[in-house]
Amino acid sequence: MKKKSKRSTIVDYLILGVVLATGVILFLFLPPIKYKKEVGILVMAAFYVFWSIWFHSKRGDLEIKIVLEYIVVAVLGMVLLLALI
């Protein structure tokens, strides 16, 4: 496992936080367009999985088990949102 600097980790979290927050804001305030919700949810979930791969590969602990965990969390989020929004 590589040792990452604290600043680099904060930047990684900031990227995730900013993208997720932007996604939520766009999702809530864009006018209703056909397939907006489906595409928005899919993009957010896909971004989350790709971010996790990038984050853990930088940290040096990228394992299939970890990627699967992120995929399951992303799918759970997608299922909940698609059912409700």
Binding site: F27, I33, Y48, L76, L80, I85
Partner: protein, 277 residues
């Protein structure tokens, strides 16, 4: 004693759960997805078999809109509006027109004004007004949003209006499933006409018939919030305990999961807050 430790192991990382809260283990996370899909299927099937128990789409009832509107008027010292079947019919036609011609405005693409619907149903008016809302899930939210908008509030607390008509219609607008609420206000040319007496009888009947139903959307929302609450709690406790014990382990990052699930929760809680024109 052993059982209580077993329950806590779902939240607190220790040796028995390989230093990872059991709720965050891959099979348990997958079980949450399965449980939610199962619950949703059960709710949908129940809603189809017992439509009187579970209402579709939203919890908005025209009677509640009228009641809440009159409460706002009473607070201003104004007389309550009486429900008029002709205004109800005009509101229904306006909603149907918006779905048929796929628009969301007071004026239709073919330049039909709200007043055209008043005339269409034979309601002769001195004063008339219209409030529109969409994508709300409760009557309280609709009226609260109108009361926060000066132009809509002016309609609700306008002392010149005597009657009201409301339509709540589900349909697809611009490819998006939605619930439209049309609220029409009017003051008839001849308020003592026979027509009004008829309308009052019809209104009281429709009020009695309105069933208080549970919304499948609301049940699903509560289940989703429960799942997210449990997982966010487990992630938070897991992170605190592991950081204190300084345990090294190979798993997903809790802060990342918390951020993602918090974004999902925020979207669920804030979405469908509705739009008014």
């Amino acid at each position: 004693m052993r059982r209580s430790r077993g329950i806590w192991s779902f939240f607190i990382p220790n040796q028995s759960n390989n230093y990872r809260a059991r709720f965050l283990h891959l099979p348990v996370l997958s079980a949450f997805i399965f449980f939610f899909l199962l619950a949703q299927t059960a709710i949908s099937l129940f809603a189809l078999s017992k439509p009187a128990v579970l209402g579709y789409s939203s919890q908005i009832a025209p009677e509640e809109i009228v009641e809440l509107t009159n409460l706002e008027r009473e607070e201003q010292g104004l007389s309550p509006l009486s429900l008029n079947m002709f205004l109800n019919e005009a509101a229904q036609r306006k909603a149907a027109d918006m779905f048929a011609f796929d628009y969301w405005a007071h004026k239709s693409p073919s330049n039909r004004e709200p007043w055209d619907f008043f005339e269409e149903v034979g309601y002769d008016y001195i004063y008339a007004g219209e409030n529109l809302a969409r994508d709300f899930s409760t009557s309280e939210a609709v009226v609260a949003a109108w009361m926060m908008s000066p132009s809509h509030k002016d309609n609700i607390i306008n002392g010149q209006y005597q009657e009201i008509g409301v339509a709540v219609v589900n349909g697809t607008l611009r490819g998006v499933e939605t619930t439209l609420v049309v609220q029409l206000f009017g003051t008839p040319v001849n308020p003592l006409s026979v027509v009004k007496e008829e309308t009052l009888v019809v209104s009281s009947v429709s009020k009695k018939e309105a069933p208080k139903s549970l919304s499948p959307l609301l049940i699903t929302k509560r289940v989703a919030i429960f799942i997210l609450g449990v997982l966010l709690g487990a992630l938070l406790v897991d992170k605190i305990v592991v950081e204190r014990k300084k345990v090294a382990r190979l798993c997903g990052d809790n802060l990342a999961h918390i951020s993602f699930l918090a974004a999902v929760l925020a979207t669920i809680l804030l979405a469908r807050s509705g739009v008014i024109v």
